[in-house]
Structure formats: structure tokens, C-alpha cells
């Protein structure tokens, strides 16, 4: 399976449909495998009938299953363990308990998980998952039977015939999960029930309803990667990128001794950050939903002015709306973290898909010369560090920082070693009280070394001042339209950002020192690029990887690193935005480009293929 949607990181996938023998799992599985084949997948299937011909309904021995293994190539077996299990009743869950991959997706019909059903499958508690020790699976619990009944009301079927369509609801849901268009399945159903048009229509309706249910609820399915093979001793938890981002912001506020404020507006796939922080009232966080994205950032700008560590979270279209206000934060020189969880664009685009297409917007999407800091997280857990960095740089350098993550990181989860905040650096904003200049303090007086203006917060005695969006005089901080002053301020604002290069780590090169090819990446593609590099090492190729977390400003050693290798390829999920940015910054840098804009993570095997070709070119 080259491309699939909700189960994003896998190139091969095993799906198992399982239920009572009356539940029609064989038909379901057959249709699914057939339509996958039609879509060009290689498949291998394994129908698994119950041993007893007429086992009691709902019993363990009555479970019927159908397993499909599908992928883009080299599918030789029906697979060992399932990535996705459809369990129509508790018995189906129980018999498959040992055949699930970690974080497998389990779809259940809650209507068939009632007390009586659990009894039939010999469960003794009312929580079958707990009882089976199934703690690391992702459950999609849907009231399938009742939704099917509701959905088919218009057909006037008797109850039993209606409920019999529930397998098609389940199939619809799985089709949604794998982005399978329904047309072929409908076609097959029409053929199968050619003589019973009502039944055909009812099945088709149930199929569509199941698909829509998945579509409308998204059913919170995430992806899983093991980021590091060796686990250091310590306490761990599972965390996805959005949660890690939220925690990173909390950590930064803690280290700075400030309150955290988040002004936000829901938008896929960033909403979780707002939701997680809204729940963190225990930690004193003020995370609030406002009327739109502009209010989200503007309340944050207000909170920053009032002395909080202020952040706002959004995705692409929301970042576009925030453009004007980011410019205000730039000229007012106040600390602000703007988190953009990138999704497929342009416009509303593909809201649930992942891309890296907002980089140019983050760098340039404002009127005037309006430089900001841009950082990108590379893994779900790195979102924590990246968010911490964002808070630190914003506060210590009095600037907006745009933190780019993406849908893939946001929903992807990893085992995460709980950080000990003692290991993290202090965050020390420069307050106006530290000003030591000869002339009386003014709002835009700067620390000579960092060019950072001193921060005065309402309530501080002796530092009342006015700031705003109009250009200010370098010395007096009053409004100024003087041309020389404007040039000086434009230059200073840029220099302030450029100087941050002194306060961030250099970019590291992984892999071969004397590589024949340097892979350059940034942000959420780290895992795939790294895996590609490692695979190539196994194939005996000399390759290295320079993966960027700090984008504006670039680490100090960037030019040196990039110009050192004969062949360089910049790989990104857009049309070359980072490559273009690097070329505009580094004379003589003419890399190859590998670009995919499919709303999907890279496919490691394709990367290896392409990079190997480049090596040979």
C-alpha cells in the first residue's frame, strides 16, 4: 500500500475483520480486499471461519474472521499481527487479543458490548480492554447497531434485516480509515444483491453512513513510531506532538517564572493544544478560546504586553489570518509564541493531512520588513523541546517566534521520557529594571549585545510607556517618520533576529563524515529521512543528514555544512520552500530537490530509491 491516510506510517498493513458468524465478516473482508486490489495494492488474505458450524451467538467459538494484508509490494503472507481489528462483539476481541500490534486500532460496536454480550464471551468485569490487558490500543467505539438502525429507518426494513447491515457500516468506517472510495464497494453490493434492490440500497446506505461517521468524527486515530531504539532509564509516558507542544510551553513559563497564556481558536489539527492547555488550570494556565484566530493572537499580544508568556496555536489558514498581528508583535518587539501545526493546503485544502507548506508563509507572510524567529519540531517528543526553545527565545529576545509542527507530528505519538525541569536552562527575560544606560530608560532602549529592548510590564513603577505599530525613534522611543531612523530600526530589528544565531546550537550532521550525499531536511520529516539514511548505510552508501530545527535565524555553521558536500539534496513536503530559502541565504548553494506534496508522510523506500539514484547520477 503506497499511500494511505489515517494509518499513516505503515507501508504494509494488516486488517482483520472479526465478529460473530452471523455478522457477515467474510463478505466484508472480501469486499475490502477486492477493492484494495482494484486500487493497485498487492494483497494476501486469510479467511478464518469458526470451528463450530453453529456456535452459540456471541460465544468465543462462534467468532468468524477475515484477515487482509495489503501493501505496495512484496506481500507474501496474510501477516502476523493486525494493525486494525474490527471486533463486532466481545468474543471477537478476546480471540484476537494476541494478534494485535502495539497501538493497533480496534473498532468495536458498543451496542454489542453490553453486559450480556460480555457474559457470553466470558468476561468477568465490564471493561474488556482492561481485563485483557489491552492498554496500548486505540479504540474507536461506535454505537454501530443503533446508528445502522437509525440510518435505515427510511427503508422500512424489519429490525433484524436492518441490523444485518452493520458489517457494511464497519466496512464504510474502515474504508474511510484507508481512504478507499466507496464506488467499487457499492458496485459489488449492487451486484451481490441485484435481485433485492432494497437490501442493496440498505447495505449501501449503511456503508456510506459508516464512512461518514469516520469522516465526521475522525475517531482520533494516531500514528506511532519508535523514535529511539535504546530507552534510557527513567519514567516514560506516551505523548503526541500536540501534547508535547503544550507541555513545552508550560515548561518555558515555569522556567521564566511567568504565567502561561494561550489565546486560540479551534482548527484541525491544532485544536488539541488548546484543549490540553484548557485542562491545565491545575497548573494555573490561562488557555482560552476566543472568537477567531485574530482574537486568539491579539489576546495573546495583550497578555504578553501585560507580562505573561503568551502563545497562540493554529494551523495554516489561521496563520494567514494572524499575519497582520504578527507584524504588530514584530514592531512592538514583544515576546510571543505562534504555533502553526501545518496541514494540507492551499486554503482549506486537506485539513486532516500533513504537509510542510507553511514555511514560506512563516518566514515572509507579513507586510514590510518583518523578521521573526522560525523553529520547527522534528518528532512528536521534540515538540516539547521545540516549544520550550520557542518560549525561551521569545522571552529573552523580545520577539515573536513561529513554531512549525505538522499534522503528522501532532497526532503521532511516542514513548517520552519525562523531562526533569532541572536539566533545562533558565529563561531570563531582560526587564527594564536591569537597564543601566546613561540616559533615562525608554521603551526601545536596547541591550547593546543582543539588541533586545528591555521589558517593562504594566504595574511596574517608573516604567510607564507607550508602544504601538507605528515606527519609533531609536533613541526617544517616540513616533518617528524620519528616514534615517527608519532604516536604522529596520536594520536593527533584522540584526536582533540574526544575533540569535549566537544563542542556538549549531546544526549537527548525522551519518558519514565524508558522505557522497548530504540529505538536508527540516521539521517533521526527521524520522523518515533518518531511516532512509540508515537503510542506505546498510546498502553500503555514504550519506549524511543535516536536519534543521532552527530556520530563522539559521545556525551559524549552516553555510559551512551545506557547502562541504559535493551532492546535497533538500527533501521536503512542499515545492522547495526550504531549498529556496537556503539558496537565498547561501551563495553558491545549488542543491537537488526532492519534493512531495501529497498530504502524506514520506515513504522511506521511495526516499532510498531516489537518493540512491542521485548518488549514481
Amino acid at each position: 500500500m503506497t499511500e494511505q491516510t489515517k494509518v499513516t506510517t505503515l507501508e504494509k498493513v494488516v486488517v482483520r475483520f472479526s465478529g460473530d458468524s452471523g455478522d457477515g465478516m467474510q463478505l466484508t473482508g472480501t469486499i475490502f480486499s477486492n477493492l484494495s486490489a482494484i486500487l493497485g495494492n498487492e494483497i494476501s488474505t486469510f479467511p478464518d471461519f469458526p470451528a463450530e458450524i453453529r456456535a452459540p451467538q456471541g460465544s468465543l467459538s462462534g467468532v468468524s474472521g477475515f484477515q487482509v494484508h495489503l501493501g505496495s509490494k512484496k506481500i507474501f503472507t496474510p501477516g502476523d499481527k493486525a494493525d486494525v481489528l474490527v471486533a463486532m462483539n466481545p468474543a471477537a476481541l478476546k480471540v484476537n487479543v494476541n494478534y494485535l500490534k502495539p497501538l493497533a486500532i480496534v473498532v468495536i460496536d458498543t451496542d454489542s458490548f453490553q453486559k450480556s454480550d460480555l457474559d457470553k464471551a466470558k468476561f468477568t468485569t465490564d471493561d474488556p480492554f482492561k481485563e485483557l490487558g489491552l492498554t496500548n490500543v486505540q479504540v474507536i467505539a461506535a454505537p454501530i447497531s443503533s446508528m445502522v438502525k437509525d440510518g435505515l429507518a427510511e427503508f422500512g426494513l424489519d429490525n433484524k434485516s436492518a441490523v444485518r447491515c452493520k458489517n457494511m457500516f464497519a466496512l464504510g468506517l474502515v474504508c474511510w480509515l484507508f481512504d478507499r472510495p466507496l464506488d467499487e464497494a457499492m458496485h459489488m453490493l449492487q451486484n451481490k444483491f441485484a435481485k433485492k434492490p432494497t437490501i442493496a440500497q440498505a447495505n449501501i446506505k449503511a456503508l456510506t453512513d459508516g464512512y461518514n461517521y469516520g469522516h465526521n468524527t475522525h475517531a482520533l486515530v494516531s500514528t506511532y513510531r519508535i523514535e529511539s531504539k535504546k530507552m534510557a532509564p527513567g519514567f516514560y509516558t506516551d505523548v503526541n506532538g500536540n501534547k508535547a507542544t503544550a507541555y513545552g510551553l508550560i515548561a518555558a513559563a515555569e522556567k521564566a517564572g511567568l504565567k502561561l497564556f494561550l489565546g486560540s481558536y479551534p482548527i484541525t489539527p491544532a485544536t488539541d493544544i488548546l484543549q490540553e492547555l484548557s485542562a491545565r488550570k491545575d497548573l494555573g494556565v490561562k488557555a482560552l478560546q476566543f472568537e477567531d484566530e485574530i482574537a486568539g493572537i491579539c489576546t495573546s499580544i495583550g497578555a504578553s504586553f501585560a507580562g505573561s508568556l503568551a502563545a497562540t496555536s493554529t494551523s495554516g489558514p489561521g496563520l494567514a489570518l494572524k499575519s497582520e498581528a504578527i507584524g504588530l508583535a514584530v514592531i512592538a518587539e514583544i515576546p510571543l509564541v505562534v504555533v502553526d501545526v501545518q496541514r494540507g493546503g492551499p486554503s482549506t485544502g486537506l485539513p486532516t493531512k500533513s504537509e510542510q507548506t507553511d514555511l514560506a508563509q512563516a518566514l515572509y507572510g507579513r507586510n514590510g520588513e518583518s523578521p521573526v524567529v522560525v523553529i520547527a519540531a522534528s518528532t512528536p517528543t521534540d515538540c516539547f523541546d521545540a516549544a520550550f526553545w520557542a518560549g525561551k527565545l521569545a522571552l529573552e529576545h523580545m520577539t515573536p517566534v513561529i513554531l512549525l509542527t505538522d499534522s503528522f507530528l501532532a497526532n503521532g505519538s511516542s514513548a517520552w521520557k519525562l523531562p526533569d525541569m532541572k536539566d533545562y536552562p533558565e529563561i531570563k527575560p531582560k526587564y527594564a529594571t536591569e537597564y543601566k544606560g546613561d540616559t533615562p530608560w525608554k521603551a526601545y532602549h536596547r541591550d547593546p549585545e543582543t539588541l533586545v529592548r528591555y521589558w517593562a510590564v504594566p504595574g511596574m513603577e517608573g516604567f510607564a510607556h507607550r508602544i504601538g505599530g507605528l515606527e519609533k525613534d531609536y533613541d526617544t522611543s517616540a513616533i518617528s517618520t524620519d528616514p534615517h531612523n527608519h532604516q536604522k530600526m529596520v536594520t536593527t530589528r533584522q540584526a536582533k533576529i540574526d544575533k540569535i544565531a549566537d544563542y542556538i546550537p549549531e546544526v549537527e550532521v548525522l551519518g558519514d563524515k565524508d558522505a557522497d550525499l548530504l540529505i538536508v531536511g527540516w521539521g517533521g520529516t526527521f524520522g523518515h529521512l533518518c531511516e532512509a539514511m540508515e537503510t542506505m548505510h546498510e546498502n553500503g552508501k555514504k550519506v549524511a543528514l543535516a536536519h534543521f530545527k532552527f530556520i530563522s535565524p539559521l545556525p551559524k555553521n549552516t553555510a559551512e555544512v551545506l557547502l562541504k558536500y559535493k551532492k546535497v539534496v533538500v527533501a521536503e513536503q512542499n515545492n522547495g520552500q526550504f531549498a529556496n530559502y537556503l539558496r537565498s541565504k547561501i551563495s553558491g548553494f545549488n542543491p537537488y530537490k526532492f519534493n512531495r506534496v501529497k498530504g502524506q508522510p514520506f515513504i522511506v523506500s521511495r526516499l532510498v530509491e531516489e537518493f540512491t539514484k542521485l548518488l549514481e547520477a
Partner: protein, 337 residues
């Protein structure tokens, strides 16, 4: 409440030259703001004056407090952030009819609905002053401006009506030329806990000179306006000889001693009643009825900034952890040794 008044109006004045045109109504309002603040006896360091963009929005520069001249229309949102982040501050929003009701309309109605404790001063000159004379959402239908060379074809907002439509709990209307009342009412608006909207009818001498003349001129004022005071009879006219009575669902002007009306018949203003029906009727007066000035509505209700704080305290009372590490350790974790 006897309290030593420590501050003079001049303590709130900054050293910047005031850049409004000679004769602009904004000058008067600025003076009243300075006086109201002295009256409120609040330390300039605890005041944050926020504005959007417009002539009126330049006001923060003329204050000796903390101030933020932000971007067009977003003052309400930014002020909301300031107040929510630090409810101890005394937060003012200075905004024009364009800034507040055109581009800023959404933030305005939401700030009002949330009842965040802001003192919103709406400078209504029925024109875009700063951009030199285009019509605003309060410009009268048919009015000719630079962007409506043949007259507008839009019904204007009535700020009182929109405020009430957005669940507003404090609304007052004043005129630039009446310094005494403007000062008093700005003071009252600041004392009100929650979003208070004060519409000031100001004159733009350059681009809309005399737009409020029919109301604000000394000769017209007694007959064309009524100054409402909570608990007092709704009387107006040169000799307070006229008053308002209710006629079904409509307000009516009567003259005391005529048609059998006596002082007893005249309505008493109740700014504090929760039901907004009468306030809406008063706020909508004009035309045959006198324009209502003064505090039209002043009702207590929960403030957003306070409720946010309260909820945090409630949650914290139930949960022991205060640091990220404590919180994470309280979750679903496992150990690798």
C-alpha cells in the same frame, strides 16, 4: 468611602504633543479622561490604555500610563488579553466608530458578551477621520462622504442597540462639549465591573464638522436631549418642563401640566434593572424623542476576567500538583530501569 485623592489630572498627561486638529472633539475627551482617572484615584502605573487605529486611537500617546496603540479594529481583543492576563490592571479601550464598529465589530460584540471588565470609550464622529473622510458604520443613510459620493445606501448601527444586542450591561452616551458629565460618566464607567461602553459624540472639525450640532449646540440641547440619572425622573427641556411616559410599548414626550400630565406620571430611570427592554427603548430614542444621554444601563453580572481566575482557583483546590513535573508524574507513566 473617604479616600485621599493622591493624583491630579496632570499626573496622567504624557509629554507628547497632542496631534489632533485644533477644534477636534477628541481634545475635550482626553481632558475628561485625565480628570476621571484622578477622580478614580488610580496609580498611573496600574493603568493600561489600549487603542486600535484612528485619530481617536492615538489617545494612549497622550497618557502617562502604560499604553498600547495597536492595529485597526483589534483593540478590544488586545485589551481582553491584557485584562484577562492581569485583572488587577485598570484597562481602557479607546476606539473610534470605524475602529470599533467596522473592522473591530466582532471583537467588540464578543468583549461585550463576555462582559470583560474594560472601560470602552467609543469616539463617534460618524466618519473615518484618520483616513480623511470616508463613511463609517454610524454614518447616516444617504450621507455624502469621500467614499459615498452619491450618498450611502446603508442603515447605520446604533451603538446602544448593538451593545444591547450583544448582551451589554453598561451603556452610556455623552457629548464632547459637556465636560462635566463626560468626566462623571467616564468615572462611573470605570467603576462598573464588566464591559462598559461609553459612546461619546465627538466633532471632527475637518471631515465632518457639525455632524452632532443639531443635538449638542447649547440652543438645541435642552429640547433635543435628555440626561438620564438612575432613580431620577426622566425630565428635560429648558425648565425641565417635559418628561417621558410610557404609552403601550412606546415612549412618549409629555409636558407637565398639559393634557393632564403631572410630575407623578413621569417615568423614573432605573439603570440597574436586569431586563433591557426599557434601556433599549431609551437608547433608541431620537427623531421626535430626545436623544438619551447619561448612563442608560448599568447592571452587575459576572466578569469574564474574574470568572477565569475563579475557575483556576476552584480547579487548583481539587488538584495538588502545581508544576509540570508533578503533573506528569501524576499521569499514566511507566518506568524503564
Amino acid at each position: 468611602m473617604e479616600q485621599e485623592l493622591k493624583y491630579q489630572p496632570k499626573d496622567y498627561k504624557s509629554d507628547q504633543y497632542v496631534r489632533w486638529c485644533p477644534g477636534c472633539g477628541d481634545h475635550a475627551v482626553l481632558n475628561c479622561v485625565h480628570k476621571a482617572m484622578a477622580e478614580l484615584n488610580v496609580d498611573p502605573k496600574d493603568i493600561a490604555v489600549i487603542s486600535g487605529i484612528g485619530c481617536s486611537s492615538r489617545l494612549p500617546y497622550y497618557m502617562n500610563s502604560y499604553g498600547f496603540h495597536t492595529i485597526h479594529g483589534r483593540g478590544a481583543a488586545i485589551a481582553t488579553g491584557v485584562k484577562t492576563a492581569n485583572p488587577a490592571l485598570n484597562v481602557w479601550l479607546m476606539t473610534g466608530d470605524g475602529d470599533c464598529l467596522a473592522i473591530g465589530g466582532n471583537h467588540f460584540i464578543h468583549a461585550v458578551r463576555r462582559n470583560i471588565d474594560l472601560n470602552i470609550v467609543l469616539f463617534n464622529n460618524k466618519i473615518y477621520g484618520l483616513t480623511k473622510g470616508q463613511y463609517s458604520p454610524t454614518t447616516d443613510r444617504g450621507f455624502v462622504t469621500k467614499s459615498s459620493p452619491y450618498g450611502t445606501v446603508e442603515e447605520p448601527f446604533i451603538p446602544a442597540e448593538l451593545t444591547f444586542g450583544a448582551r451589554g450591561n453598561f451603556f452610556a452616551r455623552v457629548i464632547d462639549v459637556d465636560l462635566k458629565n463626560t468626566t462623571d460618566i467616564l468615572t462611573a464607567s470605570a467603576r462598573h465591573k464588566g464591559a462598559s461602553v461609553v459612546e461619546v459624540l465627538v466633532n471632527c472639525v475637518i471631515f465632518n464638522d457639525g455632524i452632532h450640532k443639531q443635538i449638542t449646540d447649547k440652543e438645541f440641547r435642552p429640547d433635543r436631549t435628555i440626561f438620564l440619572r438612575h432613580g431620577e425622573k426622566m425630565l428635560f427641556g429648558k425648565e425641565n418642563e417635559k418628561g417621558l411616559v410610557l404609552d403601550g410599548l412606546k415612549l412618549k414626550v409629555v409636558t407637565i401640566g398639559q393634557d393632564g400630565y403631572t410630575l407623578d406620571d413621569i417615568l423614573v430611570h432605573d439603570a440597574h434593572t436586569e431586563d433591557a427592554t426599557m434601556h433599549m427603548m431609551l437608547g433608541m430614542m431620537g427623531g421626535d424623542l430626545p436623544l438619551a444621554l447619561g448612563v442608560i444601563r448599568d447592571v452587575d453580572a459576572p466578569c469574564y476576567d474574574q470568572e477565569v481566575e475563579k475557575q483556576i482557583l476552584e480547579v487548583q483546590a481539587k488538584k495538588p500538583h502545581r508544576t509540570l513535573n508533578e503533573f506528569l508524574m501524576s499521569g499514566e507513566i511507566w518506568e524503564v530501569k
